[in-house]
Symmetry: C2
Subunit: 475 residues, 2 copies
Amino acid sequence: MTRTLPLALAVLATFAAQAADKPTRIPDAALKAAAELRERGLKDDTAWDFTEGLTTEVGARLAASENDAKAREWVAAKFKALGFDKVWSEPVTYPKWVRRGEHAEMTAPFAHPLAVLALGYSPGTPGGGLSAEVVGFDSLDALKAASDDSVRGKIVYVGPRMHARKDGGDYGKVGSPVRVNGPALASGKGAAAFLLRSAGTDDNRLPHTGVTDFEKATPIPAAALSSPDADLLERALKRGKPVTIRLALDCGIEGMYTGANVIGEITGRTKPKEYFVMGGHLDSWDPGTGAIDDASGIAIATGAAHLIAQLPKRPLRSVRVVAFANEESGLFGGKAYAAAHAKEIAHAVLGSESDLGADRIWQITASVKPSARDAVAQMAEAIKPLGVEYDASAPGRGGSDLSAVHAAGMAAVSLHQDATRYFDWHHTANDTLDKIDPEQLRQNVAVYAVVAYLAAEADGDFGSAPNAFPQDGKE
Amino acid sequence: MTRTLPLALAVLATFAAQAADKPTRIPDAALKAAAELRERGLKDDTAWDFTEGLTTEVGARLAASENDAKAREWVAAKFKALGFDKVWSEPVTYPKWVRRGEHAEMTAPFAHPLAVLALGYSPGTPGGGLSAEVVGFDSLDALKAASDDSVRGKIVYVGPRMHARKDGGDYGKVGSPVRVNGPALASGKGAAAFLLRSAGTDDNRLPHTGVTDFEKATPIPAAALSSPDADLLERALKRGKPVTIRLALDCGIEGMYTGANVIGEITGRTKPKEYFVMGGHLDSWDPGTGAIDDASGIAIATGAAHLIAQLPKRPLRSVRVVAFANEESGLFGGKAYAAAHAKEIAHAVLGSESDLGADRIWQITASVKPSARDAVAQMAEAIKPLGVEYDASAPGRGGSDLSAVHAAGMAAVSLHQDATRYFDWHHTANDTLDKIDPEQLRQNVAVYAVVAYLAAEADGDFGSAPNAFPQDGKE
């Protein structure tokens, strides 16, 4: 997005427009129907069946892999089988990064195999792998402060330690920055390769993969160690003798690939062009089967839309479910969606994506125009019986795949899942169906169904307009 | 052991001898010293340092591997460094089973990689692996009931489900029988290979290996699936279409190997030939670093003996720590120990081995002569402040590596760890140092130190004599 107005002016213009608004309200009849939807959601297993099916019949869905295409077909067929009014795809192009295998071992002062996974966009190691001494750092700041001489030619190890939190906050604050920015930083100092303690909260011998960013640096081989392997490396380093590791990564980028966002819609009866948008992302990392990240996200939205479709009549506005392409390696699907729908931003009345697993939703927050705050409070009241709290003071940006369209001006609501367990499994082989609790999944469906339906039935809008939320657009 | 007396006569003879016994008692001075040992144990990190060192400096210790020899040297050096009075080895010979690698994938009706580990003594698959249809069973009984025709040429899958229990009881009742006996049973019916749901209580994508028994059957390739992979296989089977798996195991027996039991002793001051024996096993399975199974077992015994060695004077009797060879693939070290020390069975006044992790000891049970029951009650009283209950009605067979010597007539005491978490990690890559809680480990040391010391100071014995516990010898 290019912003042509200075920020302060844009904010003033937005507030001026909002001041004249008639408050958005949700009619009583819609609230009554929502209460029924809520109860039906708690008994509905459409989302479970979706997640079970996608993880069993397709499985891992690395972007640009064979299963990426299989998953698009599977989801489109499911939308049709569930009776969605419209099902279509919109092309999305992204790099094809391929993992063929990886191997790591400590060779001195002690011999140990090490459990590693290459990071997304990591190049491979030169034929047969590389061996180098390890230099360890507690944090990115410590690496930043290190001299190039102390790092050059070595394998840099950085050991962040995440703690489990209900809001999953340590991922953004601690784990993800090391994984995303650490390899480029080490590369800039001449490191041979980069290892991190997995960005996770578990103690399993299963590394957490994820994307890294080499846009401004020469790519170097980069991989994550499982937490127990990171412990072992740290104990070896503490002994003060040189620690060497042999690292062999067989992976890399093989050109570009065109996938798609797969979209299903329940068409509104009076304002079909306006819509509530929800969804999740279709791709997953490859070690697991992408159950919590993010089959369940699409499943929750699909289950919610299906419940709405079973009502005696369609809501006023449309309800749209998007299975976004390649979220994991750069939000490609979300960005493509925003670009494709930039001109109709006011039609996207409100949106919310599910991409934090499927444990109970405990909080709702929203970024809407001031005159739609009361309508959000009405939504919050309607999902309060499901154990959801409303924090009216916090923004709600709608989730990773909707961040681009929200930045372009779509009003958004965030339905926050309890993330306490999520980063135990995120991006690991442990992201499998058994990590989903059917009862909590149904609570998610009930919440999404109510919010989607009420947005589709609201008398008034939520403030979607080009660049309507400039403070969020900056992120 | 060959028993020459009919069982009933042996029991009578034993009771007759016991009836004449003067009750064994623990002197007040010993109880007082034990109370001090107990408090010192709760502050002592010798066991932690031992476990940290063995898992860091040696790591995985598959019997007959290079690390088996490294570990023997490491432990002998540690016993010497800690000031044990005598350190020696006794040879033990066993098969050398080697794991070179494994691979499994579901090929129809859906394509999925599968996380597997070959079982100990499994032969490899023919070059390049085998592909076959899967036939699934809920239990060994269901497999037993199946016709040979329904199994012949297929991959048999059996899916036991263990639940976490404080006493770890599901391992012996549910998990271990399928792993130990399932492959031979399937082989007898002409199966091409055998897979089981791992004998474990976790939901991690990490299979549990372990030994299987082909003594009475033609060996067939046999491996464990992780629990989420077993779930996936069961979901595929439920769809009713043929499920095929490609299985490639590169493993097998390469002749015989001679390792050793490594023994350290604190020599008693008045009865040096009599001893309390404790320990753990030196070997581990190869995917992890053998922290809970069983570096911690040797560590607890070593920590306890070291505490006793630091007393102003040696106890009356000796205290012996044995690091047993190759427990995992057939109790070879324990059997060799029993054979080597059969003639001096009465010298082994009492024994207890630690092989159930390092979580808190919650119960003491004993198999001793009736006139030594009061002495055991005195021991139990001395460890009651550590949270240990005494169940006077249950036997105490001393643990896996002492089962042979107990069967030969050594009195034994069992110090039961809380096994609730143990089978989450047992025989997996997750058996690593981080699974050990230093505080609970110290409680174990305190318990073992008190029991070992009181046995070494007891006025009277516990009933060790050839075939003294015939009811246990039958097991």
